[in-house]
Point group: C2
Chain length 110, copies 2
Amino acid sequence: MVSSRVNVDRIFRALGDPTRRALVEKLSKGPVPASILAKTLEITLSAVIQHLQVLEESGLIHTQKLGRVRTCQIEPKGLSLAEQWLSDRRSLWAKRYDRLEKLLAAPDDI
Amino acid sequence: MVSSRVNVDRIFRALGDPTRRALVEKLSKGPVPASILAKTLEITLSAVIQHLQVLEESGLIHTQKLGRVRTCQIEPKGLSLAEQWLSDRRSLWAKRYDRLEKLLAAPDDI
């Protein structure tokens, strides 16, 4: 439970940055080398590597170095974890809202 | 399209902060006055109001002032928008992965 909360914290902090979300967008279409990501997003390689590190530490992507090429790909579990957090909050809210609607629709006992 | 992207940007930036996520957690259980949120989270009222403003501007909550009490509640559309963004990225990745698996499983034509 604690480690899942830590992950969710890291994931949302990672996704709070527009460049990192742009990286996730690119990677959702397939694995891409870090150097290509830097060119596509028009940022320096060292900046892209820093962002990739934050994404990797949060569990949203994983990277693999083969020779001099670091290739990055999506880790779908990370996306699912954040989706689950949002969906849980939304269903808690919906249950509460349903209860309130039923209460207001119920005939008056007095 | 543009305004939906702006919203997603604001939503993830808003959720990137642990205090704001804690506020969303509390509010998913039902509407709460700002002063109670400040007490529950043990932060000052002015800090809570700043966070609530960011959440409201991102479309994750809405607030209503009745007399001296500002009550806050979840805006489920905001949560759905972020969920949709994550789910779209995940399904793009899954489609790509399926294609790759089929390609690897296909008999060699040569």
